[in-house]
Symmetry: C2
Subunit: 201 residues, 2 copies
DNA sequence: ACTGCGCCATGACATCTGTCATGACCAACG
DNA sequence: CGTTGGTCATGACAGATGTCATGGCGCAGT
């Protein structure tokens, strides 16, 4: 019996995945949580063999939850199950210690297999996504550029970003300009979009 | 036996929902499709009693699929199952003829009940979302303002939007200015965000 | 010790944006 | 028929944005 932990913020999806995996004779869902913060505690309590984590979650996201879980319970293997196949997500997930990475539009029949492979100690990665990740490479943005671009996501003006990050307006404009250049954008909004698409934010 | 049709672009979610609903003795999934375009054809072929449609789908979205389905097969009731509880989505879905509207973070146990209620001819609507919809009201944007704002979503400059919509730059700026005013934003990016959040785009 | 690089800042410049006034055309409505 | 409102356009203006040159500071690596 492979014991599973499910983490997804959407209760309906969580329950549905539970039903899907529960149909397999050798799989057993022993815990379900709705946020990344609850992952470690639930894992310590229910001792799953494999944890299926979503990336987009309120509070702690799936990737940092992966890192925390690896530290707190190294014997639990992590399979990331996410909506967005962003190159940066894959890279960061593997660096955080995930054993597998599955996108939510893979056929349902393959999920159980992915779980079994991960449990057996293998790596499971969508090959198309893996090449994307190689092409896109690591984030070219420096820490500060990332901060500033992240602060610009909600459409804030330079002045607002500056006060929020305790910077001068000129500095914010410089960082933004650098980010725009590095992302190949012509524009703050474009830069945000491509950086998000690559999982750099 | 209530016959069901599932439409969701994410295969994993689709399969998982199928597994979840298949556990109920009185429910039976007779068709699954991955895009809005395929909904009507599948409905005509498999004659479901209730169709569960996602809103965000490639090609035809769930709301227009609802309208098409109501016309092609009026006896099929529609239950919208979506990630985003945007007020405008609810309003437009009901106007298109949907019988129910469920957000994906409702508990999994309630989905089967929602299906049964819809099948019985009742309306199913998240009460919190319903009040939100009343508060937010209908979109204040005119058709053209919506077009321009939609074209601005990807961070395009005024010049690009103008050529794409065959307008002069001044006109684009006027429409954008009007949209910014109506959305209470100070900014093009902010206007896009609030309009999207309300389901106006 | 020197160099490179990230970070912060300033100032200047060209361009882009958002706003406003104004006017024309057309459709809908009373 | 006059009014209202949406659409398109122009021109002008202030303010925001993006770029660039320049300089100081601190922290690596050679």
């Amino acid at each position: 019996m492979i014991r599973l932990l499910l983490a997804d913020d959407q209760a309906l999806v969580r329950g549905a995945l539970s039903a899907l995996l529960g149909l397999e004779p050798d799989l057993e869902v022993v815990a379900e949580v709705g946020s990344g913060d609850a992952v470690v505690a639930a894992a310590l309590e229910h001792r799953p063999d494999v944890a299926l984590l979503d990336v987009e979650m309120p509070g702690t996201d799936g990737i940092t939850a992966t890192a925390e879980l690896r530290r707190a319970a190294p014997d639990v293997r992590v399979l990331i199950v996410t909506t967005f196949g962003r190159p940066g997500y894959l890279r960061r997930a593997l660096q955080a210690g995930a054993s597998g990475f599955v996108v939510k539009d893979t056929p349902a029949a393959q999920l159980a297999d992915a779980v079994r492979r991960v449990h057996a100690g293998l790596r499971v990665v969508d090959p198309a996504l893996a090449t994307d990740s190689l092409v896109a490479g690591e984030s070219p943005l420096t820490a500060r550029e990332t901060d500033v671009l992240r602060a610009a996501r909600d459409g804030s003006s330079v002045a607002v970003i500056a006060t929020r990050l305790f910077l001068s307006e000129g500095t914010v404009r410089n960082h933004l300009s650098a980010a725009i250049g590095k992302t190949g954008a012509t524009n703050r909004a474009e830069a945000v979009i491509t950086a998000e698409g690559n999982g750099w934010l």
